[in-house]
């Protein structure tokens, strides 16, 4: 009898419980994600000032044309692609190397694994702050590096060294994250494969080339595509070094797609221009996300 009573209760139907449980998420999502998304798209076709939102006028694709005509945007685009082209391969290789080193059952490896993972959980602003102090002219590190042929300058304030500085900070902070993903991948490779290869007389390099690399193909694919998508979204590190100047200082040499839209949309209050820039940014990311989507298991 008791069971019968529960069967009639609304809380025992899938549809009522389902929508009830989804409602907080859906309400927040519609109001704070979906509507803003539509507004972003809409405003990218308008001329609109942040302080006079109500006086927006439709101006077609003018914003998009202006964005592409702006040399500052082209520089930001170039910087973003440079960061992706350099940071992603470097962090991927270092992540794989550290994952392989930590994966060998040796005493102390847990300590190293922990140490390698910590940078990623710390704040980019805090990390950049430490690196700014370390790479300041007069610091021991800069003096040492100048002996190796690097200029004896404050890295983040120099137009040639600022972007490499950003990449350095970014790579340093991200290796641990990708290492953990690689580590999970390495642990999925059956031990028998290596044992069989040893029996066949394969050396370490052959095992790496013919077992590790092919078995990690999917993981590497994921690490690279996620790495690309994340590297495009870099912001905090750049914001941290822009002390007195505009975002992307010195002289725009560290501006990225994200700092560009932020500079125009929020700082210069040109919402239309900023929105167009962020939509362009979105489509660049989307191209890479579309590739990644293939391996993230769909719901």
């Amino acid at each position: 009898m008791k069971i019968n009573r529960f069967n009639k209760s609304l809380l025992n139907t899938d549809w009522f419980t389902g929508w009830l449980f989804l409602s907080p998420f859906l309400l927040l999502w519609v109001y704070w994600f979906f509507f803003p998304l539509l507004q972003s798209v809409g405003r990218s076709f308008q001329s609109v000032d942040l302080l006079k939102i109500d006086q927006a006028t439709f101006n077609g694709i003018t914003n998009y044309i202006n964005v592409f005509k702006n040399p500052e945007f082209l520089q930001a685009l170039k910087n973003s692609f440079l960061i992706v082209a350099i940071a992603v391969p470097v962090q991927t290789v270092l992540a794989l190397v550290s994952a392989m080193a930590v994966n060998v059952p040796l005493p102390g490896r847990v300590v190293f694994r922990t140490l390698f993972s910590i940078p990623y959980i710390t704040s980019p602003i805090a990390v950049t702050t430490v690196f700014m102090v370390l790479f300041r002219k007069g610091n021991v590190l800069v003096t040492l590096l100048s002996k190796l042929g690097f200029p004896d300058k404050t890295w983040y304030a120099d137009i040639h060294l600022a972007l490499p500085f950003i990449m350095l900070v970014y790579i340093w902070r991200n290796i641990g994250f990708y290492m953990i993903i690689y580590l999970a991948g390495l642990q999925d490779i059956p031990k028998e494969l290596y044992e069989a290869a040893t029996v066949d007389g394969a050396d370490e390099l052959a095992k790496f080339r013919h077992i590790t690399v092919p078995m990690l193909k999917n993981v590497t694919f994921f690490v690279v595509t996620l790495g690309i998508i994340s590297a495009f979204q870099i912001f905090d590190e750049v914001a941290a070094i822009s002390r007195y100047g505009a975002l992307g200082s010195p002289a725009g040499t560290t501006s990225t797609l994200v700092t560009y839209f932020y500079q125009y949309g929020i700082r210069y209050r040109d919402i239309g221009h900023g929105s167009a820039a962020v939509i362009i940014f979105f489509f660049i990311i989307l191209a890479f996300t579309a590739i990644q989507k293939r391996i993230v298991k769909p719901l």
Binding site: L28, W32, P36, S40, V104, V140, A184, T289
Partner: protein
């Protein structure tokens, strides 16, 4: 294993370890120095906690306020995410109803959209509502995040249906089976989610710095950035700020790293 190989591996570990540890050691060491000793090697007896005391007690910095703000913001967001995401994930993982597929699609599609794209409209909305410089602007839109719905859902689907069927025979409603069966069984997934959500929120910069302009409403990371801009030459003070900002997450991580690793590898990303 050949001794040569072991030496090679340790060499790699130590070199990388040094690169990772150095900036942290530098920050901690400098935070214990007086200004005149910065970038010098000093005796152990000359190390001092003065900077910490100074930062926390001096009226010159609003550090205590920033710390409290970070704790409040993080607590609200993590609580919201635990409750709202787990309910949504349960509905998507363990129930069957019309429209479910659409919501699943929404969750995945949202994952693909970088948050920056809606930053300006959200900022404008906050200004219109008069919410800028309040905790509402820092927390309300982020009370639920699709990545964690996805993560929890991945875990919930692995819980056997038989357990839920059995609970229903014992008289639990569908909603009841969520609270009495799913939640207690999903502790590891919840801990993974909490640690990822906690670190993400604690370290976030672009949103809090956009939504707050009053010093009193800064969170720790935004405060640290302004501290750095203002007092960059006082390296020991700035490094103390760095240590204070990072230490909380690092301690949390050290205790819960097992779950952190699980969380990353469980989110459906393994090959």
């Amino acid at each position: 294993m050949k001794p040569l190989k072991i030496i090679r591996i340790y060499l790699v570990l130590f070199v990388l370890g040094l690169l990772f540890a150095l900036p942290f050691c530098y920050a901690i060491y400098t935070s214990l120095l007086q200004m005149k000793d910065v970038d010098k090697i000093v005796k152990l007896s000359q190390l001092t906690l003065e900077n910490y005391i100074h930062l926390f007690s001096s009226k010159e910095y609003a550090l205590r306020r920033w710390y409290t703000n970070s704790i409040i913001m993080t607590a609200i967001i993590v609580t919201g995410n635990v409750v709202i995401n787990s309910m949504a994930a349960f509905a998507l993982a363990k129930l069957k109803f019309k429209g479910q597929k659409v919501v699943s699609f929404i969750v995945v599609a949202t994952l693909m959209i970088p948050y920056y794209i809606i930053l300006m409209p959200v900022y404008i909305k906050m200004a219109q509502l008069g919410w800028l410089n309040t905790f509402r602007a820092l927390t309300v839109p982020y009370l639920t995040q699709c990545i964690y719905i996805f993560l929890l859902r991945q875990f919930f689907v692995t819980i056997p249906e038989e357990l839920l069927d059995a609970s229903r025979i014992d008289g639990l409603s569908k909603a009841g089976s969520f609270f009495y069966i799913i939640v207690p069984l999903s502790k590891p997934a919840f801990i993974s989610m909490i640690i990822l959500n906690f670190t993400g929120t604690w370290n976030s910069y672009i949103i809090p710095s956009t939504m707050t302009s009053k010093q009193d409403m800064y969170v720790l990371v935004v405060g640290l950035n302004s501290l750095k801009d203002q007092f960059f030459e006082r390296t020991n003070i700035v490094m103390t700020g760095v240590v204070i900002t990072t230490i909380s997450v690092v301690i949390l991580f050290l205790f819960l790293q097992k779950y952190y690793v699980q969380g990353l590898s469980q989110s459906g990303i393994k090959g």
